[in-house]
Amino acid sequence: MQASDLTDHISRRFNKDLEDLRNMVLSMGGLVETQLSRAIAAIVSGDSELGLQVANDDYKVNKFEVNIDEECSRILATRAPAAGDLRLIVAIIKTITDLERIGDEAEKIGFLASKLAAMDRPADSYRELKNLGTHVSHMLRDAMNAFARLDVNEATEVVLEDERVDVEYELIQRQCITFMMEDPRSIKRVMNVTWAARSLERIGDHAKNICEYVIYMVQGKDVRHTVISEHDDLITD
């Protein structure tokens, strides 16, 4: 499926509906990306105000989800789409759920940031969280780019990237355990760090899911719960 396929219906209203829906999902993606980067900035710079702001702004993401969901049901009911259009709607319904979850995780990170800001900060000012955060926000960005461009290659790369995020998360966990064993007084703080790392890791998973929906939408192939590198017929051009 190409981007131009979307604008290929006899009914011009239907084209516009689908195009608007896609634009709305991408706007929601932009909002979630902003929320995530602000949450990471809040934790890294110890800015409790920014963290709380992120947590308070989560309602905007939720509103988006509800609106898009409604629009999807409306299109399903009135247009009865088939083939590629149906896949687009199904993929969008799933994508927004994952985006909303990412929003929730960003909200959690924002809360944790405001808590961590009140505690003493380690010398490296959470460099490992910053690295993981950058990694994950790149994944989310590439996932949304793949969604916008209907780009299977980029989507596949993001799915593969998720393994690296998992490894990084594992390392942070070990580091945190070491800190807690060395100095039990730091347990309260380090627990929050593990929670933030856990949230970031979950965001990576959600970004991976979105990419799987992109592959489904473009090629009609369900690659969930399979090993992506075994699908050597996915890469186009």
Binding site: S4, N23, L26, G30, E33, T34, S37, M144, R149, D151
Partner: protein, 440 residues
């Protein structure tokens, strides 16, 4: 009639006449003409088919020689074709030049249609914003540069403002976006990498904040000792004067540091909260009463033409009024007159402080809000001003989406006008002008 056409007509008539003449000899003149006409038709059809074939194959060798009617047609045809080809080459060359020049631009430029879809973008847009010139054609630009701020800017159709958004390709990078209208219903989006500028601004802000913070503790120690020394009777009398002066200067420094800290706090915070209501009229009265001293300061008139309240931060608005008013007092002789005015219109609220003091030369107006800028460096230090008042005013206004206009004429006085947008006012009907008594 050109030669070839006349020749063709004459030839045709001669052929028909010849056919008619031969037929007449045998007694069938009409049949003779008919046969001649068929011959002419056969000859023309043959040439027509040959020409069509030549157009298809591009081999016009049959038509190159001679000067018959078909050769004429060919030469006119090839002339037109050659001209069209030349134009095409010229346009292609021109297009290539334009493309090369847009690619050489250091800033990203994206041409958008009325639906904000990408029509064309240059190479810089690819490197600094990650757009793909071929693949993203027809894609809405805010589907790729997904920032809520940019979406809002593109939708608003307001072309005056610029925004900074996080760079989609560079970690910790920033992109400055500006939209200008272009052609019919088209827009051009300019993207510029401003990471360095933003980093520098942040560094300067942090430096000023940190430096003032660090200066604070030594200053407290110094003024503490100076305070106790000035009260100590055992200190030699000759030291009285120097100690008093040192105390004065230490207090001045304390004030500077406090205002610098205030300024850096204002700079780093976002827009002011718009849920709290500020009673401007009440604040004006409070500030006036605090600063007015009968006989020493000029008359201060209060004109409140509206009881509308402002959505914003109470203490910041208070510091705004205090700064403007104390400036006016310092620059107006004691027999002068200062007017404080608060009025609203559908366009927004206007808070103005006017005096009939010495006024400011026009060339100084643009620099007035710079930190430590002084119109008369020699004199101003003695009157107790720190030099940060108007900078604070500017930042407070910026945080309330408002603007500062300064009107002034040398010798006539000055007027500082703060314009608040209508969205910052809390709705209430305008009341007739009421004037409180001039002195408390």
């Amino acid at each position: 009639m050109p030669g070839a056409s006349r020749q063709f007509l004459v030839g045709l008539i001669l052929l028909l006449l010849a056919g008619g003449a031969i037929g007449w000899i045998y007694g069938y003149a009409e049949r003779g003409i008919l046969v001649a006409a068929l011959l002419a038709l056969f000859w023309q059809v043959r040439h027509l088919l040959a020409f069509v074939r030549a157009i298809r194959t591009g081999d016009f060798s049959v038509f190159r020689q001679g000067d018959g009617i078909w050769q004429q047609i060919f030469s006119a045809f090839s002339y037109q074709q050659g001209r069209a080809g030349r134009y095409k080459r010229q346009y292609r060359q021109l297009l290539r030049e334009i493309r090369k020049s847009t690619d050489a631009m250091p800033d990203g430029a994206v041409i958008l249609n009325e639906a904000n879809e990408i029509v064309m973008c240059n190479r810089a847009a690819k490197t600094i914003a990650g757009l793909k010139p071929k693949k993203d054609r027809g894609q809405r630009v805010d589907n790729i540069l997904r920032d809520p701020e940019l979406t809002r800017l593109l939708r608003s159709n307001e072309f005056a403002q610029e925004i900074d958004i996080p760079s989609p390709v560079r970690d910790d990078g920033w992109l400055n976006c500006r939209v200008v209208p272009y052609g019919a219903d088209q827009k051009m989006l300019f993207l510029r990498d401003v990471t360095d500028r933003i980093r520098l601004t942040r560094m300067r802000r942090d430096f000023v904040g940190n430096a003032s913070h660090e200066l604070r503790s030594p200053l407290t120690v110094i003024s503490g000792y100076l305070d106790s020394m000035s009260d100590d009777p055992s200190v030699i009398a000759e030291w009285g004067q120097p100690i008093a002066q040192m105390r004065n200067q230490a207090q001045r420094m304390n004030r500077i540091v406090a205002e610098l800290l205030e300024l850096s706090r204002l700079e780093s915070a976002g827009p002011a909260d718009d849920t709290q209501l500020v009673d401007v009229a009440k604040l004006l009265t409070i500030c006036r009463n605090a600063l007015y001293q009968a006989g020493e300061t000029p008359e201060i008139e209060l004109e409140v033409a509206s009881d509308a309240q402002l959505r914003g931060n109470n203490s910041e608005i208070e510091s705004l009024i205090t700064n403007l008013l104390s400036n006016a007092i310092r620059h107006t002789p004691a027999d002068g007159r200062i007017t404080l005015r608060w009025e609203t219109s559908p366009a927004g609220g206007v808070l103005s402080v006017a005096d009939n003091g010495e006024g400011i030369n026009a060339e100084h107006l643009p620099r007035l809000t710079e930190r430590f800028f002084r119109v008369d460096p020699g004199r101003a230090r003695e009157d107790g001003g720190v030099g940060l008042g108007l900078a604070i005013v500017k930042h407070v206004l910026g945080r309330h989406d408002a603007k500062l206009d300064i009107e002034s004429e040398r010798g006539e006085g000055s007027r500082f006008i703060c314009r608040f947008p209508a969205g910052r006012l809390s709705v209430s009907a305008p009341v007739p002008l009421r004037q409180p008594p001039a002195s408390p």
